[in-house]
């Protein structure tokens, strides 16, 4: 392996390749550009996506740069704090985002370069060069340079500031490389990718956190909050870089020295990680067994297709990252709603408890507006066993039962929390009953959209799309159709409860059961009639 010759004194001359040219960073830059170009060739969709990305990056850079320069209008202290927070956000973003997009860029996976005769140092500089080749790195750099225009005083300050910004940018890049390289072994395994897919949801939620804090009225004074956050970040690399730009002088010089040391340290760690990643084995074939349990519910249910489908669905909710993400997202969004509805100008009274619970129920049922999507390519196994519309109805009933098994207690808990937050535990009763009713309505509507507007759910989760290429439209129509249908059909029970007629909640559960049964009946007939189309729509290549 290049870069770790175990004390070979005199290399055999015969092995020397005549006329070799030193592989510099420019080779990696060209490789990266060629990969980008190759990815665009022949695909209008990719080309449009690329054009859109470029435009977005240019807009981001221009807006960011001008926003940074207008910081001159603010007081020096506020400007310094804003830049500190922003630099820190960049640093964290650089560490986390490439991790979530791993596999999109061939130059980022060191294992693909392992067979080339390159020294680790060469590889490191090359991959560094390749990572800063791209529209987003350039946009980041432009915005950061904007901080120099916005903060620095005098020519000397600007000079030191530019150096500090460049070092901070280098730290962003090296840190991002370090994180992906250190984890690349894990990311190549199925289990690692599963964990990562689920962690996407936490990143999305974490991004909502500041928003939530600002909205929740926890901080009446944004200025104080900014000061607080900035003071915490003062001695982080980002804080030091920001202050180096703002303050100049000897302090800036010291900050630059520290930053340079950090870059060098992170770079050294990265090279060490790279060296290890190149020779460590691919662990993806090692896997542990699953527990061979039948599950509580499957033990209670009578033997047959219904129990089979319920058992399979419950296992998928647990084992498939897509299932886990769906449940997490529904609960998290409902929880956020419960918090933010409590702010000023929101509803009052029992609605405070009922509304979040019902929204939670609608969101849970929404995941099953394409109930066959996750089965996708394996759905044929059911299709070759089902010979009548009754079989398909049983299948859908099994799916609904599995959702209810998780969803019913979950909605109870959600209603309790919402009622507690709203200030009256007693409101949990109408909230729970209504939410259960809404879940039933949603599942009934979802059964119809699942059969009439099925689409493929990609194996690999992506934060931006939930459907196979070319099916985005149908996925959109299906989910919005299901949402609107559920909303309209749930009105007769939800509206009276929300307006204070809480006794109507008693009718919610029978109403939901009735509608879900109706949905299953119609959907079962339709599924039997058009299951070949259903199979095709859910097993597109992704």
């Amino acid at each position: 392996m290049a870069g770790r010759d175990p004390g070979m004194s005199a290399p055999d001359r015969r092995w020397a390749v005549p006329g070799t040219v030193r592989v510099g960073p420019s080779v990696f830059v060209r490789l990266k550009l060629r990969l980008v170009a190759g990815n665009l060739r022949g695909s209008v969709q990719h080309l449009l996506g690329f054009v859109f990305t470029v435009i977005a990056a240019i807009v981001f850079a221009a807006l960011g740069f001008s926003a940074m320069t207008t910081l001159r209008l603010a007081s020096a202290e506020v400007a310094g704090d804003v830049v500190t927070v922003l630099f820190a956000a960049f640093l964290v973003g650089w560490a986390v985002v490439p991790l979530l997009a791993f596999g999109l860029d061939d130059t980022l996976d060191p294992s693909r370069l392992a067979l080339f005769p390159l020294r680790t140092g060469q590889l490191a500089t090359g991959m560094f060069a390749a990572s800063i080749t791209g529209v987003w790195p350039v946009a980041t750099l432009v915005v950061m340079i904007g901080a120099v225009a916005g903060l620095a005083g005098g020519a000397g300050g600007a000079l030191l500031g530019t150096v500090a910004v460049l070092l901070h940018f280098a730290l962003c890049v090296v840190l991002s490389r370090l994180v992906t390289t250190a984890l690349s072994g894990v990311l190549r395994t199925r289990r690692g990718r599963d964990v990562l897919a689920v962690s996407v949801i936490f990143v999305v939620l974490a991004a909502q956190l500041p928003n939530l804090l600002l909205n929740g009225g926890l901080s009446a004074d944004p200025g104080a909050m900014l000061r607080g956050v900035a003071s915490v970040l003062r001695w982080t690399p980002s804080g030091m870089a920001a202050h180096a730009v703002a303050d100049g002088g000897v302090a800036a010089l010291l900050a630059i020295v520290v930053l340079a040391a950090l870059v060098a340290g992170a770079g050294w760690l990265w090279i060490a990680a790279l060296r290890r990643a190149l020779v460590s084995p691919d662990a993806s074939t090692q896997s542990s067994s699953v527990r061979n349990s039948r599950g509580l519910l499957a033990g209670v249910l009578p033997d047959g297709p219904l129990a089979a489908v319920v058992g399979k669905e419950l296992r998928y909710a647990r084992r498939d990252p897509r299932g886990r993400v769906g449940w997490f997202a529904a609960v998290a969004v409902a929880g956020i709603m419960a918090f933010s509805l409590n702010g000023e100008g929101g509803p009052t009274g029992v609605a405070l408890a009922v509304a979040p619970a019902c929204i939670g129920a609608a969101l849970i049922s929404m995941q099953w507006c394409n109930a066959f999507g996750i089965d996708g390519r394996s759905l044929w196994m059911n299709a070759v066993a089902y010979g009548s519309d009754r079989d398909w109805r049983t299948d859908i009933a099994g799916r609904h039962l599995a959702v209810a098994t998780i969803g019913v207690p979950l909605l109870l808990a959600l209603s309790l929390v919402a009622a507690l937050l709203a200030g009256d535990v007693g409101w949990a009763v109408p909230a729970t009953l209504t939410a259960w009713g809404v879940l039933g309505v949603g599942l009934g509507v979802g059964a119809l959209t699942s059969v009439q507007m099925p689409y493929t759910v990609p194996e690999r989760l992506n934060a931006f799309t939930g459907a196979a290429p070319g099916q985005g439209g149908i996925a959109f129509v299906a989910s919005f159709g299901a949402l609107i249908g559920t909303g309209l059909l749930a009105l007769p029970i939800v509206l009276p409860v929300l307006s204070g007629l809480t006794w109507v909640a008693v009718l919610a559960v029978p109403y939901g059961l009735l509608l879900s049964a109706g949905g299953r009946r119609v959907a079962g007939k339709a599924a039997f009639a058009r299951y070949p189309a259903l199979l095709q729509a859910t097993s597109r290549a992704t």
């Binding site: 699953v290 061979n292 297709p305 399979k312 089965d375 044929w380 059911n382 070759v384």
Partner: protein
């Protein structure tokens, strides 16, 4: 053509995708109890035909009878009688091998105790007992084909349809598959499988149907179809590779690259 009861008979089976005719009037016949091979070059329509025969793809025209029953009229009767292993190893990835088989058995309404007994037997024969509790997503290609075949056999079907069952399978696993299939046909059941691999078809099959360009170009007992030549030579002659130009050479570029 023999007068014995036919396991499979299609008449004028037709399927078109957009402008392209994938299957243009196929009259496939497979006598009961035979080990039948469906051979043909890539794009000949083998997969499309098998999908339509097994009720996974609706034909645009023509009819399919299995054991004398119309596939698209009486699905309950047909589906309980056939076992299917489609192309592409599409399985429920997040179930373990054992769970996948149990799921199949239960879907078909076999009593649980009976399912468990059959599952244990199949896992043992397929050499999958040790990996039975691993998720299918972590299985190798050979293991996936074996678990797929086990799932197709679980309800003891009368006719088994396998699309490229030996593709990408190591010799040891392939041998297991062959042994299970031999035992199955010896008991009088029917196997229909598609393949590129002529040697395999020649070794296993007693009945061959050759497809090209969406049609059956030859069909009958193995010895009749190959007529004294090797099946490979007969096949090349049938699909129109007379060695008269570059196009023929190009069309066969897959042949050498396919592992046996």
């Amino acid at each position: 053509m023999p007068d014995a009861i036919e396991a499979v008979r299609t008449q004028g089976l037709f399927k078109r995708f957009g402008q392209q005719v994938a299957v243009g009037g196929v009259d496939l016949v497979v006598p009961s109890g035979s080990f039948a091979g469906l051979v043909g070059p890539n794009g000949a329509g083998k997969t499309t035909t098998l999908s339509m025969v097994t009720g996974l793809l609706r034909p645009d025209g023509g009819s399919v009878h299995i054991g004398g029953v119309d596939v698209w009229r009486d699905q309950v009767a047909v589906k309980s009688r056939i076992g299917v292993l489609p192309e592409g190893l599409r399985l429920f990835e997040r179930l373990s091998g054992r769970e996948l088989l149990s799921y199949n058995g239960q879907l078909r309404g076999i009593p649980r105790a009976e399912v468990e007994q059959r599952v244990d037997g199949l896992l043992k024969v397929m050499g999958l007992t040790e990996s039975a509790d691993k998720l299918v997503v972590d299985y190798s290609t050979g293991m996936r084909k074996k678990i797929g075949l086990a799932a197709a056999l679980l309800h003891n079907p009368g006719v088994l349809f396998l699309d490229e069952p030996f593709e990408g399978v190591d010799p040891v696993s392939a041998n297991t598959l062959v042994e299970v299939l031999r035992r199955y046909t010896d008991s009088g059941s029917t196997v229909v499988f598609s393949s590129h691999v002529m040697e395999l078809v020649e070794r296993l099959c007693d009945w061959v149907s050759v497809m090209d360009g969406g049609r059956i170009v030859a069909q009958g007992p193995l010895d009749e179809v190959r007529a004294g030549r090797s099946l490979n030579e007969a096949f090349l002659g049938l699909v129109g590779v007379q060695g008269d130009g570059a196009s023929g050479q190009e069309g066969l570029s897959w042949l050498g690259a396919t592992p046996a």
